[in-house]
């Protein structure tokens, strides 16, 4: 057991019953993660209340036992599982450690629970009277935290029930295992998450505002051809996808969990960087790299929507894939909707004005988020943006598409009026603006 050292630190805490907190009498939680062959239980037991349970059990524990051994033995004595017909599951205490939650000391224990051979891990009777066998007001809140085959892959647990003396058993039936449910739920979660993740979409959209222009001497100068523009778009979106996918795998598989506030602040800054770049080239030719690096940060933020508690690696892989595909679907939809408009954002004239206007709008949004996230000051801008729903995102995408298409049509129509007399049957294709090398007088 790896918790020995942690428990040595815990001993005085357990003895100091009733350390002051906002909750003089906090309660226990059991988080259950359902895997294909086993269930993992994470027990959170408030140290102040556990002390009463240990004391009441005093006769059963030898005084010579070390404290950590007593806690381990106590938990295994008071937490058990059986099949519905009463055959015991194998309970293995994996770790016991101490954690401070909202100013109160908790003992956090992880127990691997395996059913007898040929029994489903999805159907069990859980017994838990730790603390409640002694403390009459204490209760245990039982939550299903993750269950891939049952479609529970997000960050919101499902309440299974409460146990308070004299109740000490709960029958749990998670239904049939259907791995497709996990994948589907992860996909839906990805779609929902990105559709309401205005900051992620705005970063990407702003980054591709200058997709149709090329930089020279610190200015957006020349225009790209349609093929080159599309290629550029694909490169940027792919780089972003690689970035956030790597982070997502890292977060789910290896537990990368930097502070949420830091991550969210960097995301706000990424929008700002995109906005500056859309105004004037800040990192021309390196959009892909920027998209990938900031993508890492966005991925860490995505990961919080996905449960990090799936115990089976294949389940976790399926969840990441489904979630990522959900995110990708919406991203591609929005980017595709923005292509006609991006094509019109030329280096000069109305296109430039529109690009700069959009850059300013994105910059204002980013500033609102930075103020909110970095300095903890919610403001009109950030609260309005954070209230975006999937419907408003869809509407914004539709508006992008409409404006871009209308603009393209108007341009094409006006182009015909001007071009037809001169270019005859060839149309205006030959007159379309191509990058022209500027004449440079003071070239070094």
């Amino acid at each position: 057991v790896s918790g020995g050292r942690a428990l040595a630190l815990l001993a005085p805490l357990i003895l100091a019953v009733g350390t002051a907190g906002a909750h003089p009498a906090p309660n226990s939680v059991v988080n259950l993660d359902f895997g294909p062959r086993s269930v993992r239980a994470e027990l959170l037991v408030p140290a102040s209340e556990l002390a009463y349970g240990l004391a009441a059990d005093g006769a059963q524990g030898s005084a010579a036992d070390a404290d950590e051994r007593r806690v381990e033995a106590y938990l295994l004595r008071h937490v058990a599982a059986t099949t519905s017909s009463g055959e015991p599951w194998k309970m293995t205490l994996e770790s016991v450690r101490e954690r401070d939650i909202s100013g109160h000391g908790y003992v956090v224990a992880t127990i691997a629970m395996a059913p007898p051979a040929d029994h489903s891990p999805r159907c069990l009777v859980l017994f838990d009277d730790a603390v409640t066998h002694e403390v009459r007001n204490h209760y245990v809140m039982l939550l299903a935290r993750s269950d891939y085959a049952g479609g529970l892959v997000g960050d919101r647990p499902e309440l299974l029930g409460f146990l308070q003396h004299p109740q000490r058993r709960l029958v749990i039936d998670r239904g049939e295992a259907r791995p497709g449910r996990g994948f589907g739920a992860a996909y839906a979660l990805g779609v929902a998450h990105i559709a309401t993740g205005t900051d992620h979409l705005l970063f990407l959209l702003t980054l591709v505002l200058p997709a149709a222009v090329q930089a020279r001497d610190g200015r957006w100068w020349a225009r790209r051809g349609p093929k080159s523009t599309l290629g550029h778009l694909v490169a940027v979106v792919t780089a972003f996808t690689i970035g956030h996918s790597v982070a997502l795998v890292g977060a789910v598989a290896f537990g990368w969990q930097p502070a949420a506030r830091g991550v969210e602040t960097v995301i706000a800054l990424s929008v700002l960087a995109s906005a500056v770049h859309a105004w004037r080239p800040a990192f021309p030719g390196r959009e892909g790299l920027v998209a990938a690096v900031f993508g890492l940060c966005h991925g860490l933020s995505f990961a919080r929507a996905l449960s990090g508690h799936l115990i089976d690696p294949l389940d976790a892989a399926g969840a990441i894939l489904g979630f990522n595909l959900g995110i990708e679907s919406v991203q591609l939809l929005i980017i595709a909707a923005s292509i006609p408009l991006a094509m019109r954002l030329t280096p000069k004239g109305a296109g430039a004005a529109a690009r700069q206007l959009l850059a300013v709008l994105a910059g204002v949004a980013a500033a609102g988020w930075v103020v909110d996230r970095a300095f903890g000051i919610p403001n009109l801008i950030s609260s309005a943006l954070d209230e975006m729903t999937a419907a408003t995102t869809l509407a914004a995408g539709a508006i992008l598409l409409l404006v871009g298409t209308a603009w393209a049509c108007v341009t094409a129509w006006r182009g015909r009026q001007l071009c037809v007399p001169q270019a005859g049957a060839t149309g205006c294709a030959g007159l379309d603006v191509r990058p022209i090398a500027p004449i440079r007088i003071h070239d070094s």
Binding site: G18, G21, V29, M141, D155, F162, H165
Partner: protein, 372 residues
């Protein structure tokens, strides 16, 4: 049978309440010590008068405040009370500290109409105690007399059901008018500090209830059967912590409807097994809780609680120190409908001291039967 029994019971209850609410020198309550005299401007909680005071208060508010005040009569709204400070469990409704003079006066009329003099005084005293804690609020959990809220679940009406909720830290009045059942509960109250000085006078918000419960526990100490097994660190049927985002959030009444002990095990001693003096203390203790809402709300309830058939099935128990002098001291009255608890806990602001939690539930008529 019903008529023959019902009428005297009602008269008895009226006489009792009369005893409880009468000014000093009024008729004493039947059989035993009168623990509570509610002297002051409290009202009777009559549905029509409360509805009209409620609507008058509502009229003084801005459109924004009205929108906060007006809530639907749903389970989700009414269970959203807590014993915890508002920084831990943000409340729904209008914050009392935000009201101007005219609005405060209108609210005063409303609570005076709805609560007895005892209930009104409890509201004032509990809020005053929170002002004593406010300077010690280092974690900004929202202590202070301004952080109390008023909520209407449903629309105030002389005939249709609605709930008046007034509460904050250590206080939750949930008064149901025109409900399926007469509804005075759930009613949570507590205090920290237990006693204090403020503006030159001494205060003890739960004096009536703590002394009545202590008198009961002292009477029970002679009976081994009255001692409840186990440890008590809070009231048993109080709020339940929610866990948003995987972290323990503050408790609300998410455990409603509750299950209660049945049979005779772990419920203490039967009322019938006590001598007359002990029985009187049971009644005095329960009356100290029942006296808080206006009597129109509690008349039927008290009659039912003190009906001989109900008292025969009523159990009383205690745990910890019978003089309520230490943490873990606990007293409970548990009848066919009545569920009253009193617990002594360590204080939160000054852990060396103690503080009280008390809860009155009715197994049948919490929220007037309107939140099932």
């Amino acid at each position: 049978m019903r008529v023959i029994h019902g009428r005297p019971m009602l008269l008895l209850a009226c006489a009792l309440i009369g005893g409880v609410t009468a000014p000093p020198g009024g008729a004493p309550a039947r059989g035993g010590p009168t623990t509570l005299k509610c002297v002051g401007p409290g009202g009777r909680g009559e549905a029509a008068a409360v509805a009209s005071a409620a609507l008058a208060f509502r009229e003084t508010l801005s459109a924004v405040a009205k929108a906060s005040l007006d809530q639907p009569l749903t389970r989700a709204v009414v269970i959203h009370w807590s014993n915890l400070p508002v920084g831990i469990v943000p409340r729904i409704g209008v914050r009392i500290g935000d009201l101007d003079a005219a609005q405060s006066a209108a609210l005063r009329t409303l609570v005076t109409t709805a609560l007895s003099a005892c209930g009104l005084s409890l509201l004032d005293e509990v809020r005053l105690a929170d002002d004593v804690l406010a300077p010690l609020d280092k974690r900004q959990i929202g202590w202070g007399s301004g952080n109390y809220y008023v909520t209407f679940a449903g629309t105030p009406s002389p005939t249709a059901p609605w709930i008046l909720a007034v509460g904050g830290h250590h206080l939750a009045y949930n008064l149901t008018f025109n409900g399926r059942e007469a509804g005075a509960t759930p009613l949570f109250f507590g205090t920290e500090p237990i006693r204090f000085e403020a503006s030159g006078s001494s205060h003890e918000p739960l004096k009536a209830q703590s002394s009545a419960m202590a008198a009961l526990a002292a009477a029970l100490a002679a009976y081994p059967k009255a001692r409840l097994s186990g440890t008590f660190t809070d009231v048993v049927k109080g709020v339940i912590a929610t866990f948003p985002d995987g972290k323990p959030g503050g408790g609300i009444d998410a455990g409603f409807p509750q299950t209660y002990p049945t049979g005779t095990a772990e419920r203490g001693i039967r009322y019938d097994a006590l001598p007359a003096a002990g029985q009187a203390r049971v009644r005095a203790a329960l009356e100290s809780y029942v006296a808080l809402p206006g009597e129109s709300l509690t008349r039927e309830l008290l009659a039912e609680y003190e009906a001989p058939s109900a008292l025969r099935e009523t159990f009383v128990g205690y745990a910890g120190a019978a003089d309520l002098s230490a943490r873990g001291s606990y007293v409970r009255i548990d009848g066919p409908r009545i569920w009253m608890e009193f617990i002594v806990q360590p204080a939160v602001a000054t852990p060396a001291d103690l503080h009280y939690h008390a809860l009155w539930r009715d197994k049948r008529s919490d929220y007037g039967g309107e939140a099932q």
